[in-house]
Symmetry: C2
Subunit: 349 residues, 2 copies
């Protein structure tokens, strides 16, 4: 142990345990009070390979919100700080030399089961999983460095490996979609973005989106059909999982994959026409970053980290920033901040 | 060409073209008259590698019925005989020596695009795709030798290759399911049969079914959950694709595959909970015999043919026989015959 450890940690801690027995889906909240409270907690002892990070900033991702509802791939633990990722500076470390070497370093990191959440003044992280950041990667980009960028990069690699000439994206103007649009352009693949509003079309076009389809337009079904015929994408990366998703997949050609990574809609969509699965060799599956992070080979992960860092450093990728809320008032202000359509919401100590 | 060719062929020919633009699903028919007519057609010229088979018997499979409705993986051709498979004796052949060598031989075969359907007095088949049958394989087994047995064998191989300790089957008492139950027993895998009626339970038990669950019982959901926990099957072979199928898949553990090969229900089921796909690495796909027949390696196919022949010869497999209808009255009698629950319906010239 070294000095620099605070007397206590102030954090937004989870109020409920386990899973929601009756999942409602979606990420809409009327109020945060049943789910989160601002509270003082003790500073955990650091294991040899752990570091204590003085938090600078943490993003609010859809996965955080599903988790708070008890509708994510891991159970809630009442009394533990929320927040899956963030950026900050290492102020103390366990006895392991590599952990010690990180003291004073600005790092991005994702919370682990043995550590603590990032919506706090300080968080405990695994030194081996910290990603030191150069000054060229700003706090907003560094705070959301892992969940969205790595999800985008890992899913894009799977689409590319499937040999598809293009990728269809729902929530087409989301952060993950925008990252994928840029990756697709750089690899010469089509990107077909399904959006609900036209406000982000210029941004998507500037990033290199091939086709933008507004699902609320009267001619959506016809445009969808003709786009699928012309572009023949065989990979569908879906954040929403609603009836429009089923419609999109039904319109895609044979040998297509529907990969669901988010559940932004509370609706349960119908299965595609069974003929699409039986006669046209189409497959439905999911994607979750967590097993990818623990399962992918280290060199594969390092290559993806380096790619993400390079893209944020030179501006090919950037995080669209919405509201920023303060840790001590987030329980009251978060719902309104999340309604802000400008971009991602962040929490600052 | 050799002699022995009849003046004309009497056949049940398809009346409609192409696909049904508004698929209704299922295999229920009020009447066959819009779909089939009994008609005299000319005898096609035989190509070098083709044979003319004097038909002995042909089965009526669900795939035939989906096809007649225009809801199968290939378009209808008005004026062409229906019937995907059957058994008969080769009475004439094209000039190819192997085709010639089959004259007088009793063969099972599946109809091909260049040949003609099996619901007829005679059918044109590809000599290379004919399977000569020993006397030990009776007409009912030989007539339905390809579609159901090969579907069962090919799907079972995929389940086994996936390393699943067991297989869940809907339409648990169907011919395909029974074949798979026997294969599973011989390989030491569990088979869990979902049925709607208890009448076939003794047959399934005798074949080696591990668990039989009646989906109409009040305690079905509880029994399903406890069976999945105890047996941990990870492969679901589904002929029905209805809401019960979704319920079954939701109850299965992580890394499970839902393989849909039939669409006996006209209902469109909901997609499983998206969390099952995202967090539990579950996959939904289809199976169709047609690409397997053209895609699998020859030695793999020959091994499967030999296995099927051995099982029918020694009685490990047998076809459950329902009604038999005559070719010339089938348009009028088929609907009633199909309502007979005893087993598969056959057509005889």
């Amino acid at each position: 142990m070294t000095s620099g450890i605070p007397d206590s940690i102030m954090a937004l801690v989870v109020k409920q345990d386990g899973y929601n027995p009756n999942p409602e889906g979606g990420i809409h909240f009327e109020t945060m009070e049943p789910y989160l409270e601002f509270k003082e907690i003790a500073v955990p002892d650091l294991a040899a390979g752990q570091v204590l990070v003085g938090m600078a900033m943490a993003p609010i991702n859809p996965s955080d919100l599903h988790f708070l509802k008890g509708e994510y791939g891991q159970p809630r633990r009442a009394g533990k700080p929320a927040g899956f990722e963030g950026v900050g500076t290492v102020i103390a470390a366990g006895e392991d030399p590599y952990a010690q070497s990180l003291i004073g370093t600005r790092v991005s990191f994702a919370a682990t089961p043995d550590g603590t959440g990032t919506w706090a003044t300080h968080a405990v992280a695994e030194a081996m999983l910290c990603i030191p950041q150069p000054d060229s990667v700003g706090d907003h980009d560094a705070a959301g460095f892992i969940v969205n960028p790595l999800t985008a990069a890992a899913m894009f690699e799977e689409a590319k490996a499937a040999g598809s000439p293009g990728i269809v994206l729902t929530a087409g103007a989301s952060q993950v979609s925008k990252f994928i649009v840029a990756l697709a352009r750089d690899s010469g693949l089509d990107s077909i973005c399904i959006v609900r509003r036209d406000v982000h079309n210029q941004v998507l076009t500037d990033l290199g989106a091939t086709v933008i389809l507004n699902q609320t337009e009267d001619d959506f079904a016809a445009e969808l059909t003709s786009t699928m015929k012309e572009r023949k994408p065989r990979f569908f990366i879906d954040a929403v999982a609603d009836a429009t998703s089923t419609q999109v997949f039904n319109a895609m050609g044979k040998d297509s994959t529907w990969m669901i990574y988010g559940s932004l809609s509370p609706e349960t969509p119908p299965l595609p026409n069974t003929g699409e699965l039986i006669f046209r060799n189409k497959v439905i599956k999911g994607f979750w970053l967590s097993p990818w992070l623990s399962g992918a080979a280290l060199d594969e992960k390092l290559a993806v980290f380096a790619e993400v860092q390079a893209r944020f450093s030179d501006g090919r990728w950037s995080t669209e920033v919405g509201a920023t809320v303060k840790l001590d008032s987030a329980v009251e202000t978060l719902v309104e901040a999340l309604a802000d359509p400008r971009g991602k919401v962040f929490i600052q100590p």
